[in-house]
Subunit: 421 residues, 2 copies
Amino acid sequence: MLKEMGIKVRSASRVMAVTPTQVKNQALLSLAALLEQARPEVKAANDQDIAAAKENGMSEALIDRLTLTETRLDGLSRDLRKLAALPDPIGEAFDETVLENGLRLHRRRVPLGVLGVIYESRPNVTIDVAGLAIKTGNGVILRGGKETIHSNLTLVRLARQALGENNLPEDAVQFIENPDRALVNELLKLHEYVDIIVPRGGEGLHRFCRENSQIPVITGGIGICHIYVDQNADLEKALPVIHNAKTQHPSVCNALDTLLVHKAAAAALLPRVVRRLAKDGVTFKAAPEALAALEGLEASLKTKVAPAGPEDFDTEWMSLVLGLKVVEDLDEAIRHTNAHSMSHSDSILTNDAEHAARWINEIDSAAVYVNASTRFTDGGQFGLGAEVAISTQRLHARGPMGLRELTTYKWVGEGDYTTRD
Amino acid sequence: MLKEMGIKVRSASRVMAVTPTQVKNQALLSLAALLEQARPEVKAANDQDIAAAKENGMSEALIDRLTLTETRLDGLSRDLRKLAALPDPIGEAFDETVLENGLRLHRRRVPLGVLGVIYESRPNVTIDVAGLAIKTGNGVILRGGKETIHSNLTLVRLARQALGENNLPEDAVQFIENPDRALVNELLKLHEYVDIIVPRGGEGLHRFCRENSQIPVITGGIGICHIYVDQNADLEKALPVIHNAKTQHPSVCNALDTLLVHKAAAAALLPRVVRRLAKDGVTFKAAPEALAALEGLEASLKTKVAPAGPEDFDTEWMSLVLGLKVVEDLDEAIRHTNAHSMSHSDSILTNDAEHAARWINEIDSAAVYVNASTRFTDGGQFGLGAEVAISTQRLHARGPMGLRELTTYKWVGEGDYTTRD
């Protein structure tokens, strides 16, 4: 059933792949304008989704996620205009050489082809992803959640209209309307027409994709992030970094989950961490040695600290909870981090250059930091201009994926009727 | 059952990842020397495989593939020494920037982690792949064919010995001894311990891996390669290129399968192609218009040309057969190639720069050529120094995969107790 959609989007993607930068940018600007002109329509569709969500007793938090407020809609148009202004990675030539036989060889950046993006409640993802696909000359098959079906159908119609207005193939943006989960499974088997699957959702969705896909899957977006405070860190300076990593935005994947502290620094640091972070509502799960280091704490603060169970160091908290653990030395910190991290973002605080170098080399994560907050792992922070996902797998792209990570390359060989000896 | 092997190789791969270049190179040189010292042992094991193959009535061609001749063994040691002399991609820093907040950011090339390589009869692949893994600091799980089990076990033992002699973890090279196909399936599910699957074999193996793997699979090594001779190509110069692409090594994936000819060049070119290539044993499958263009051919040559069935243009010949088809124009040539190519290697012969540019842009293959033989798609030819596979998928790497394509990167952020605003 999806095969026909696959054939259409593959064919459209071939046109998008050779579309000049200026025309792709114009389509993004058209979409930004359409989102403003058609705002009553978009709001009406979104209201239908909100009404259905209320009828189905959906939680306030989830209803908030699917609501397209004026601010969010303004943001979508603004982001599309920013995207139009970014450099186009497509066509870039690199690794140019001339072989001994005279063959001129280079690699040229080209679109990945067709993206399959599976996401959940937030309808703004529809526009974000359609915009990234247009910018990078990729086709895309979108599969959003059924709770935002009316919003998504309207937004997809506008994206296709923006393509059409610029004489680009509307079929480059496809949307799976039927919410049946069986169609997700069918999408994951469409390897002739789809080149990459990007799931944007929880661990269950990622696992489902990995286990059922015949197309490479970019898994990520889940991080159990560590900060290790080394023996000779500057504890005064360490405190704001820990506070920033834990409290600035606790519900995201690059927020701090576990604080590891060298045994020589535990007694001095841990009580200060609890005092400072408890003020902002943080509670703590402490391993035995960390509990011991907190023995002398005021009774009112002791209530914020619970003994950690073993599974607590394998939990992405997504909330104001912080695991605390004392380690013997750098070796134990590295071992613990590599064993419990989801290979997302992990940081050492130290004034020892040798320890910093070992952390960088030996921690097996997409982003490793020295004397910095884990919160930096983000396409915007890294200056990528846009972000489609944060990858924690190793193939193709690691960490924040921007425009360039939605491309691949082809080898181009130019000769003079050149033959191989 | 393989989980334990996975745990061991993951752990060993962490050591390999931080091993200095010189030590890795020393291990390669040790292996080269061991292969020379232990030659009687290797030959004895290989003889066992040959004897079993004969007993099982295996064809001469297959027995030839699994035979480790003196020349092939010399080649293995020589290639290992060459590999040791190549630059090490690991540790290379790129995309260095300093963010506004002072965070120094770069990407650093690191090993992929653990490779899973599934291959068939040629035991020299065992040493090739073990060498590439050692050079790039990756761990590897090898799964060779059961018909070369004795050779492989001896070669793997030598590879592990070479690691041990240099105080490197022998567990970085693992071999699945049990030939049960169920273990291949188990390997494909070992996503916690294996980062990439490289099947080296026929289409059946590739399909099996794609359909059953929970780990990203590099598919490739299968090409239906095209040369399109444009209206205004230099036919005199075109002939040797076509000859080279078809006959130089017909049993490999970058050999020519289909010759497309512009209708205006068909009458002049096709009879010459048949006359020249038939001398070297080539036979032809011609579509109707190509047959018509060959009407005037000598009777003795007409026997070399058969009418093409439609499936003939979807066949990788791997032998001295060539499909012939006349097309209306460049558009039809591009459409036909994109529809029938396996996205491997396709070439245009033309003196029209605009047509050349369109071919480069619009042909959706790993390697696209202008006025050159398709036979160049090869790690050695491209100067990559070594080749683990030729990828025809789009993610991570396309075309010949050398040392760099066995790496990924991590983001490294270095600050001064830097926090995010």
